[in-house]
Subunit: 208 residues, 2 copies
């Protein structure tokens, strides 16, 4: 009986180690990508970092794509968190909306590699799989809610709200993408484009 308890504890300890390895794999992958870019990521390099051989990884992730997918998932959760935090920091819908898109912008550059795989910027991101991820989605409800409030529209499924949401998203994602391609202009122009667009769209959607 005493042994039974020890056995349980041992199993738990082993489980904890396994959980840790699962995390280590993700961390190693992200570290490699940050140092050498997405193209340089390989199973054997991950194995090197976590001090195992490559086949071990397949006991934690079905394949390489599953690792990319998990990193993307992590990215979406992080982005959603940032967006909700930005939302909560303001009371006025106008300010909430502005803060959310600024948070989106900041997320993209603070987590460049995650952004790349989340939205396929200069990397082939197993798109179809990502589109199936539940979490791999912008916090749509949050945006439509705030946009609706700014526009004073009740129906959150309105095409008008949808149109405005995509207008915001397009301009911000577009500017992010262009900059991640090193095709952007100065920081000053970026700031100008970003705030002009956000403020401009908000003003244009307000009922006169």
């Amino acid at each position: 009986m005493i042994y039974g308890v020890n056995k349980m504890a041992s199993k738990e300890r082993i489980q904890r180690l396994k959980d840790e390895t699962r995390i280590n794999i993700l961390d190693a992958a992200l570290q490699i990508v940050k140092e050498e870019g997405w193209q340089a990521l390989s199973m054997r390099k991950i194995a090197d970092v976590i001090e195992y051989t490559a086949p071990i990884i397949y006991e934690y992730y079905a394949n390489k794509e599953a690792i990319l997918l998990e990193l993307a998932r992590k990215g979406y959760l992080l982005l959603a968190k940032d967006l909700r935090a930005a939302h909560e920091q303001h009371a006025l819908p106008d300010k909430q909306l502005e803060a959310m898109w600024l948070a989106y912008w900041n997320f993209a550059f603070a987590n460049k590699e995650l952004y790349q795989i989340m939205f396929g910027v200069t990397t082939n991101c197993c798109c179809e799989e990502i589109n199936k991820l539940e979490e791999a989605v912008m916090p749509w409800d949050l945006f439509t809610d705030v946009i609706g409030k700014v526009m004073h529209i009740e129906d959150p499924s309105s095409d008008l709200i949808c149109t405005k949401y995509y207008t915001f998203w397009s301009v911000v994602h577009g500017l992010v993408s262009i900059n991640l391609l090193s095709r952007g202009s100065s920081d000053e122009i970026n700031r100008q484009v970003l705030t002009d667009a956000i403020v401009g769209i908000i003003r244009s959607i307000k009922p006169d």
Copy 2:
């Protein structure tokens, strides 16, 4: 002497065949990409299509990247042509600007694969190399010229023009990217976002 002439003609014939093979390689590559996507493109597959073995390709292109680069270059030339055509079809700067961005939009979906490699949408496009390409650039002069006319600004190097140019580009490229990721909405909403944005920006930049 007669032989000398024949020799020349023979050399020219051989050169023509070589030129043709160089083109065939590009065509084969694009064909494969259109059928199976960028990720499926390989030197051996190209060789299969042109009915040679893989090492032959290296007599025409330094490496795989050089092929991608050449395809991107072709894309930029094609896009520039479309944009200039759109420009020429109108007299009023407002209409010219609108037509140009609509042409950009149409190009993206008519040449999806080229657009992907030109702007790194869901594919790793040897970015740095592309940024060094002379032709790999939007017809900046054309855009700034037209935008300047709409704004009634003389100085084409104005930061204001630059800002507006990036605003246009961001929203259009962003919307294209989102749709190439299958993250877009309906065609109707796309049209709405696109024309609303273009018309909206034009209106906003016109001197009151």
